[in-house]
Symmetry: C2
Subunit: 216 residues, 2 copies
């Protein structure tokens, strides 16, 4: 299974690529192909030193979509719509949104678009045959990158296509110690996306770092 990461050299994308690459073919996209190539070279080097073989390839964002079965949109919300507008070829692909629409004021707050959530905005912008899921929303960038630490967190996955959701949940469950939970249809993805500003507030007001979530 080939996973393309749009924005794969960003805060979230780079660590995510390293976590996924030992198990999947990961195609890392960036606005600048050269940046993706450099990022992948560094990641391959780092993983090699850890004794891990991997498949990582740096390309443009468009090539990351074209070459993949599953596309992860690792893009900050503020660039999401503009980035998607420059890309194509999402037909029949599974598209994963880990995007959280939020703002930092004195505190972090969930500020969804008129569609209700980032995932619903993605669904609206893509062709109808794209199978959109939300997943990986709650994993902090630092956690993705801290390869020495297992990720003991719950990951709710929302989506309307049963088969797509099952495949995304399998990827979640095969990544570190992440545990996928079916979060329901895409219509309720707002409640998952709002977890991240909540967790950032919890970290901030309780002097914690990179807070994750577990269901019990």
């Amino acid at each position: 299974m080939k996973i393309g990461i749009v924005g794969g050299t960003g805060d979230i994308g780079e660590g995510m690529a390293m976590r996924l690459a030992p198990r999947y073919e990961v195609i890392v996209g960036s606005r600048e192909k050269e940046k993706a190539e450099q990022s992948c070279a560094a990641s391959i080097d780092l993983l090699k030193k850890r004794g891990q073989t991997c498949f990582l390839k740096g390309v443009s964002n468009q090539e990351a979509i074209d070459g993949a079965d599953i596309v992860i949109l690792a893009i900050p919300f503020k660039h999401l719509a503009a980035t998607i507008a420059t890309l194509h070829g999402f037909e029949n692909k599974i598209v994963v949104s880990p995007v959280n629409p939020m703002e930092k004021r004195d505190y972090f707050v969930f500020v969804p678009p008129p569609e209700g959530s980032a995932a619903l905005l993605v669904k609206k912008m893509l062709p109808a045959s794209a199978r959109v899921c939300s997943a990986f929303n709650v994993i902090a960038a630092n956690k993705w990158r801290a390869l020495d630490e297992e990720l003991h967190y719950a990951v709710p996955v929302c989506g309307d296509d049963v088969d797509a959701k099952r495949q995304v949940m399998e990827i979640v469950n095969s990544t570190s110690k992440l545990q996928a939970f079916d979060g329901g249809p895409l219509a309720v993805s707002a409640m998952v996306e709002s977890l991240t500003p909540l967790l950032l507030n919890i970290a901030r007001y309780n002097k914690m770092r990179d807070v994750g979530i577990q269901f019990k």
Copy 2:
């Protein structure tokens, strides 16, 4: 410290009263005083059989407010505004909202009022001197009542009054194994209230029961 529970004979209120009564003076309010008296007699009996002494007193909702330092509004969202409108005497009290505005469609969904959250609606309706916090949102009714089970859950507490929030967090931390987290100001209480429909969906779609949350 005297805790009054408005709606103290309801799904959440009754179990909450039993959990709090061994440590605090708990004044259980109901629309029908007789119902509160009966509920308290049954609860006292149950706690006695468990070898626990307690202070529980059944009164009307208004008497529960008048006699308490801290008032917990254990009311379903659909009755919240109408119930508050019939009550008075909230001046200078700490008022705790565990209320979650949500609807059950094919799934559970967070449907906040125009104010942004149930807690913000409460704040708007009460006199300015009432010190409103949101807390206890995420504990399922069945969990409150299952006295043999410790509650190993995180409880985010939101509020704008530092002293009130500290007192509410102390009550949370002294209840079973609940762990209070400062969730930030009341302005972000929507993100806490939306946890409950999220957890109900997680339970539903993953065949779990009474799902709670932990931060890690």
